[in-house]
C-alpha cells in the first residue's frame, strides 16, 4: 500500500526550451568523408530545441534526460543527450555515423548539477554540438 501511495507522488515534467535562431550555419553532410567540404550540400539553420524530462518523487530528482534536438526533413534528430540511466549522471556524445562514440561520466557531481549543466551546455554550444554530430 505504501509503495502504491508513494508512486502516486511521482511526477513527470516534460518541457521544451526553444533556442532562437542566431544565424549560425549548419552543414548537413550528404556523403563523402566527414571532414570534406565537398560533402556539404546545404547550409541551413534548423529549428533547435532542448527537450527536458524530469522525474521526481517526494520532491527529489530521481531521473532525467536532457536532449538536444534539431529539425531536419520534418523529423527531430537527437544530436546530444545527458541523462541519469545506469545510475550515474552522464553525457552521451552522439554522431550521425559513429552512433555513440563517447560517454562522459559525472561521478563527482550530483544529479541536479548535471541536470543544470546539461541545459547550460546545450544552450551555449548547440551549434558546435550539432555540427559535430553531423560530421561524426
Amino acid at each position: 500500500l505504501n509503495r502504491f501511495a508513494e508512486s502516486e507522488l511521482a511526477e513527470q515534467f516534460i518541457c521544451r526550451i526553444e533556442i532562437p535562431s542566431i544565424g549560425h550555419p549548419f552543414y548537413f553532410s550528404t556523403g563523402g568523408t566527414a571532414s570534406s567540404t565537398d560533402a556539404r550540400e546545404s547550409v541551413i539553420n534548423p529549428p533547435t530545441v532542448i527537450r527536458v524530462f524530469q522525474h521526481t518523487h517526494l520532491g527529489r530528482l530521481i531521473g532525467f534526460s536532457i536532449v538536444l534536438l534539431i529539425l531536419h526533413a520534418d523529423e527531430w534528430i537527437d544530436v546530444g543527450r545527458f541523462d541519469s540511466a545506469h545510475g550515474t549522471p552522464h553525457r552521451d556524445i552522439l554522431g550521425k555515423t559513429k552512433g555513440l562514440p563517447e560517454k562522459l561520466w559525472y561521478d563527482e557531481l550530483t544529479a541536479k548539477q548535471v541536470f543544470a549543466l546539461a541545459i547550460s551546455t546545450f544552450r551555449k554550444n548547440h551549434v558546435q554540438i550539432s555540427n559535430d554530430f553531423l560530421a561524426n
Partner: protein, 68 residues
C-alpha cells in the same frame, strides 16, 4: 571510456558556471523548474509530449531506453 580518451573527439563543454546564472547545487525542484521557465522553457501537455516524441529519431544507445 575515460575522459582522457576523448582527446580526439571535438567537444566544447560549458564551464560549470555555464557562462550565466546556474541554479545553486541544492536548488529545489521548484527552483529548477522556475529556472527552466526563465530560460524560455515551456511545459508540454501530455498530447504535445506525445506528438514531439513521435517525431523524434532517437539515437540508439545500447543499454538505454529512448527518453520518450
Amino acid at each position: 571510456m575515460s575522459k582522457s580518451a576523448m582527446t580526439s573527439w571535438p567537444t566544447e563543454e560549458a564551464p560549470l558556471d555555464g557562462g550565466g546564472s546556474l541554479p545553486r547545487p541544492d536548488a529545489t525542484i521548484e527552483e529548477l523548474e522556475q529556472w527552466i521557465i526563465s530560460l524560455g522553457g515551456r511545459e508540454l501537455s501530455p498530447e504535445e509530449a506525445r506528438d514531439l516524441n513521435a517525431k523524434v529519431r532517437w539515437a540508439d544507445i545500447p543499454g538505454e531506453p529512448a527518453p520518450a
